[in-house]
């Protein structure tokens, strides 16, 4: 029996040892590295190339032109105003809500969670549509005011930088809420109790201990809000561009329409450098970690402030959530936006048209779903290889591959799209105008998102699992797919769903790269309104996108077991 076992073991090892060759690992690494280089580095190099090389010679005229142009400074100034405005609004809103939810005895704290979550699921562009439907002449606000005061002169414009600040703040405050909330939960009750014991009042303890303890979280989430705002295209193009005001992203868009490619490249680099710098600074800021060692949280009693808090929250969620949702919902059932809200003007035709009749929207749905599934799955496979090599080999080249793969996280989507346009417009890789250019750019966008979701799980895996498999003669591919993948599966799956959801709402990449036949839902959201369809069709599409988004995010929440989902889901 002993001899039998010995013979069988030897046979097994011999059979598998051929597959354990070094070249197998190198081949997979080479393949992964090539994919990353082609889809991430190659477009980036092209942007830089176009910004400095013309007719085969190096020149910096593009940079001189951009930095001499007063429009650049105007766009920069507006971008700074936009970013500061959004920070000034979203950070306090998110912090106050997180405080009420996590640090007080507020009775309906679960409701806050749900409301913020739904707010989080509404794409920023959709919010800007709701804003226009509410505020514009003939909008719901105007109609309500007219009912109360028939002679009122209404001259509020929905288009302004302030409007973009408000809409983006409503869109981004959930990120602050999730991050600050988890920070507040880390504060051990004894830190606050000690303040009381030393004579600190509630007010002094909140301002001197509780809030300062989440400063590190506030700083890091502030950086995230900064990069999201600076990269936003949908809201600014909808609310700021119509009045001729420009920010960096719309300036790039304008330069594209003027076919001034050098300026496009230079502005893209400028936008990317700012984003990258902020991203790097946020990574370098050293925080003093807090750790809740006894897992108990101190809850401040609201007492006499309870009524005030109720009123404040009711007003806030009415403005940030219910009014936009109700506005979109009502508009989606109207025969034509602007008609009175009466039974005779209500219809289901908009839904029928979008879901079953319009060939373009049906195609857009099919495209978005296909692009999403294909890109998210590809990104998951590439990420699996990147993480495996980083975890088990951790050589310089593995670390480098990991860092490069994370690059798109700090690149605005519009820059990714421009890089793809430059890289894939000419032979030998002429992909422009095909669906593959969108898919490839989506993969580049998705890899760091999946990485972020799965790398935490990967770091918790013991290296001895792979080592023991090696000693048992398990080949590399099996080690990756049968042993390693199941251990990080929940991270990969939640990353996959997030990526899929992004593909259902993403605007800048598909808008720049689509051609007839490759339209996406994002393009339709943007274009339906731009053409003669009217806001009721945009609203219908928006409602459908919100429903998809809520379902998807609920799924992700279930998979990651209650962890907040604050990944890059917006455009």
């Amino acid at each position: 029996m002993k001899n039998n076992l010995k013979n069988n073991t030897v046979k097994f090892l011999n059979k598998n040892s051929r597959k354990l060759s070094y070249s197998n690992s190198s081949l997979i690494f080479l393949f992964t590295a090539l994919v990353v280089l082609i889809i991430i580095v190659f477009p980036l190099v092209y942007i830089i190339k176009i910004s400095v090389i013309k007719d085969g010679r190096i020149f910096f005229d593009g940079y001189i032109e951009v930095f001499k142009d007063v429009k650049t400074y105007r766009a920069l100034k507006n971008t700074v105003i936009l970013v500061l405005g959004v920070l000034a609004m979203s950070v306090p809103i998110g912090t106050i809500l997180a405080f009420i939810r996590n640090k007080t005895d507020y009775k309906y704290n679960k409701a806050i969670d749900y409301f913020v979550f739904i707010n989080f699921c509404i794409p920023s562009y959709v919010l800007s549509v709701a804003w226009i439907e509410c505020i514009s002449r003939g909008g719901f606000l105007h109609r309500i005011l007219k009912m109360i005061l028939p002679t009122i002169k209404y001259d509020i414009s929905p288009y302004s930088l302030t409007a973009a600040i408000i809409v983006l703040s409503i869109h981004l405050y959930p990120l602050v809420y999730f991050a600050v909330g988890s920070g507040l939960k880390q504060i051990s009750d004894i830190l606050e109790k000690t303040s009381f014991l030393l004579g600190g009042s509630k007010r002094k303890t909140i301002l001197g201990i509780t809030i300062p303890l989440v400063y590190p979280t506030l700083i890091s989430i502030g950086f995230l809000v900064f990069t999201r705002t600076i990269a936003n295209f949908g809201v600014v193009s909808n609310l700021v561009l119509p009045i001729g005001t420009e920010v960096l992203t719309t300036r790039i868009f304008q330069a594209i329409s003027e076919l001034n490619l050098t300026v496009v490249a230079v502005l893209s680099i400028l936008l990317m450098v700012i984003s990258l710098a902020v991203f790097k600074i946020s990574k370098r800021v050293k925080y003093k970690e807090i750790e809740n060692t006894n897992n108990t949280i101190y809850y401040y009693a609201l007492g006499k402030y309870r009524i005030g808090v109720n009123i404040m929250l009711s007003i806030f969620f009415s403005i940030a959530l219910f009014i936009p949702l109700v506005t979109l919902l009502i508009s989606s059932f109207l025969k034509r936006w602007g008609l009175p809200i009466e039974m005779e003007y209500l219809t289901l035709n908009n839904y029928k048209y979008i879901l079953f009749e319009s060939e373009v929207t049906k195609r857009a749905f099919a495209n978005s779903i296909f692009f999403g599934i294909f890109s998210a799955t590809s990104a998951v496979i590439i990420t699996l290889f990147i993480l495996y090599f980083k975890k088990h080999n951790n050589r310089l080249k593995d670390k480098l591959l990991f860092s490069i793969s994370n690059l798109p996280l700090s690149m605005p989507n519009i820059v990714l799209a421009i890089g793809a346009t430059f890289a894939w417009i000419n032979p030998p890789f002429k992909l422009y105008g095909t669906k593959w250019i969108i898919i490839i750019t989506y993969i580049a966008l998705f890899i760091p998102i999946v990485l972020k979701h799965a790398s935490g799980l990967s770091s918790n895996i013991s290296l001895s699992i792979d080592d023991s498999a090696k000693t048992l003669g398990v080949p590399l591919i099996k080690r990756i797919f049968v042993l390693y993948m199941p251990q990080i599966f929940s991270g990969l799956l939640s990353g996959w769903i997030i990526c899929f959801l992004i593909s259902l709402r993403e605007i800048p990449i598909s808008l720049l790269l689509y051609r007839k036949g490759t339209e996406t839902i994002g393009v339709m959201l943007f274009m339906i309104q731009s053409n003669s369809y009217g806001l009721e069709t945009t609203s219908t599409l928006a409602v459908i996108v919100i429903i998809f988004s809520v379902i998807g995010n609920v799924l992700v929440k279930k998979i990651v077991k209650g962890n907040s989902v604050n990944e890059r889901i917006s455009d």
Partner: protein, 325 residues
Amino acid sequence: MKELVIKNLKIEYGKNTIINNLDLHVKKDELLVILGPSGCGKSTLLSGVSGLLKPTNGYISFGERIFFDSEKKINMITEKREIGFVFQDYSLWPHMTVKDNIIYPLKLKKIEKTKINLILDDILKDIELSDKKDVYPNNLSGGEKQRIAIARSLVMNPSFMCLDEPLSNIDPILKMRLLKLIKKIQIEYKIPMIYVTHDQHEAFEIADRILIMDKGEIIQSGLPEEIYNEPNSAFVAKFIGRSNIVSENVFDRKKNCKRLVIRPEDIEISEKGKYVGFVKKKIFRGSFVEMHIKYNRETLIIHVNNDKHFVGEEIRFNINKSHVI
């Protein structure tokens, strides 16, 4: 005279009674150690005294100041009680330097800056951490953190101090140093202290008086030597030191006999010993050898200085001291 008075104190968590009708006096300048197993209610008692928990019933006062009186519906808020409290987990604020942590209560009292600096320098000298003023807590060792926590409680000039297992996370050698420091501070600052622990060695090292608690009630209170030599129950005898708890009739054939507590060091092996048993087991414990002696139906533990007996050997012994419980 300023002393802490607790009468009829009852603290409940939902339907569970954690502290049950407890009476306690802590004298001025006294260091009272409350000793008891985990979950006996000793930390809850401190939370009740300091106002972090609202008792269900009872009376708590310090000198003239009534902290809590359920009959008169008085419940002074924590921040007004001026009680120095040191937690097991240090509770240093990680976003503040050592200096900022210590002067926090002084700033709350709006004491002028020059005076604050003087107090800070003095207290840092007392706890031997003058060079750590600008360091953040995450760069300090456990012992240093706990000294800072003690200093922070002291600068507010507290009425008395509560220390809730302050040295549980400290290694044994450093623990002895810190115990000496706490005792020194208590004597120099003349502050009554309640020190809660489950470690009897800590209790014997610093206690003026020890109070044994179990299931929310005081089981015994007395001087350390009283508690050790005259435990009033099997629980105390088992909890403090090692002991043999045997029935009196093991040695003398009496009816209605009581139980005896015999400390291992009070059993002496002698060739002319009155009792005969045999060695069942030997354990080397460093400075002594622990022998398990089978006698009648019981196994007695004996501590001896030498290792000359072997397992199975018949030995004779005398009992020098025993205590009836």
